[in-house]
Symmetry: C2
Subunit: 295 residues, 2 copies
């Protein structure tokens, strides 16, 4: 079977730091690509490489066989997919919609159900790996939806990422991503608090890292973010306001599931405090600011 | 200068899982070794290899140039060092006492000060790396005390561990170990909560690990303990009751330092709950029990 992806162009909506890199990979792989972004300037580099800029998300939906979205907030996902004139109202039957935004599992399930009624397929496929992972096509892509739709998407997803796993039915990709964020939140709390304690105790925190960096206290956060924390480098990386969004999603979803979430609750309290202290546009490692005080 | 360590035997007090392995390494390196343990049976293997079993800690102190201690609780450290008939009352001037127990920084400072008044040297030198690290002499040893005493101890510590760092004055080794335990507590909370959330969401948690194991959520705990959690394998590893001890030490020390410790506070609440549920003798990964419930 010739996949539909080869007979009609692909579409990509949401050309921020992540989406821009990902759309570029699809274009470099030789696929005709329809693109749309609210801020048109962000599409310039892709247009120069041959992408076709549509006047609306609806136009992308009407003229593409597979549409990727990489948006900001769940409210954006809801509007673009479900609102008039949204993707579901405009996509032809047989179109595959793939939302790679980190968003609500419940919303992903709602989109799946409503899409299905229109004979449109949908996958939730959020990613981890950040801007570098997107640029280097080394993302981990966590997918929820039907196995047949996953198989159809897989050759395209392989252009964008390295670890691509179908986690289960609609919403499962989002659930997996939230589990990922919960684990990150715990590790980040531990690293910030450990370094804060070390400084209060009058230790040289760099020397502390020599002792604790490669043992049971080790983590991606400790290896990659602790040195930035100690250097006072709070450049993003991954924005505080985006992690706060994910934490709220995890808390909402955890409440629906009746899951126990004291760690991400604590992370939420502290990151809200950081937001209030003007940290929204900093990297998530800026949480260290709340723990950093020399005696 | 011929180090004193070569002219008189070494001493080792506390021959549990960790201490037994460590004393064995010193013996294998060719040092005459005086040993003591409350339960004499634990000394049998070392006696068979040539160690001399003393009738008391005081006798070890009187007849050794360098005395290592690897005890259980800070109260044990206080009794063995400061109580009559303790190490300080019985060690000759010039003796070096090295406490490798994870214990209180404040107690380490008190021992240092009182030892010094008797012309006895002391180091606090807790370790990470667990029973395997002790057995394979790959421990990370975090040292507090005087630089000259550290230099004197270094050839011996190199027999026991791999990463050996002088962190600062008396108590700094203990402070560093507590920072290590704080980082571990955060990572452990994140891993348990992420897996608990995944199960509540109806995901296959092993498949979730495929997606999240090697990215920004990665940690020693995720790699090494998550598979045990999912297998229901709560064998120690590192005992819950020992981590609870360390958490209490971190909270006490954090309060003295006026450090912010919400993460280790939360870990303390949850591990106390696990203690109450009969988890004292399980491995620390048993914290997952509190988060594990399928919908």
């Amino acid at each position: 079977m010739q996949p539909l992806a080869h007979t009609f162009p692909l579409g990509f909506i949401g050309l921020g730091v992540m989406g821009g890199s990902m759309a570029g990979h699809l274009l470099n792989a030789g696929y005709p690509l329809n693109i749309f972004n609210r801020t048109r300037a962000k599409a310039d580099a892709l247009i120069a490489k041959g992408a076709y800029f549509c006047e609306s998300a609806a136009e992308v939906a009407r003229s593409s066989s597979v549409v990727f979205t990489m948006l900001g907030m769940p409210s954006d996902v809801e509007e673009i997919y479900l609102g008039p004139p949204g993707l579901l109202q405009n996509a032809k039957p047989g179109t595959l919609l793939i939302d790679m935004t980190t968003s609500s599992p419940a919303l992903a399930q709602k989109i799946f159900t409503e899409a299905r009624q229109r004979e449109i397929a949908s996958l939730d496929a959020p990613v981890s790996g950040g801007d570098i992972g997107a640029r280097e096509a080394r993302l981990s892509i966590m997918v929820g939806g039907e196995a047949s739709d996953f198989e159809r998407a897989l050759p395209l997803l392989k252009i964008l990422g390295k670890t691509i796993v179908l986690q289960g039915g609609a919403g499962s990709g989002q659930h997996t991503k939230l589990a990922n964020q919960i684990a990150i939140a715990g590790a980040m709390l531990g690293v910030c608090e450990a370094l804060g304690y070390a400084k209060r105790a009058g230790l040289d925190p760099h020397r502390v890292l020599e002792s604790i960096g490669s043992g049971a206290a080790g983590s991606w956060s400790l290896t990659n973010l602790a040195p930035r924390m100690l250097a006072g480098n709070f450049e993003p990386g991954f924005l505080v306001k985006h992690l706060v969004k994910d934490i709220r999603l995890a808390l909402d979803s955890g409440a629906i599931l009746n899951a126990r979430t004291p760690t991400v609750s604590l992370a939420g309290e502290l990151y809200e405090e950081l937001l209030a202290a003007g940290g929204a546009e900093q990297g998530t490692q800026a949480l260290f600011r709340l723990f950093d005080s020399t005696p």
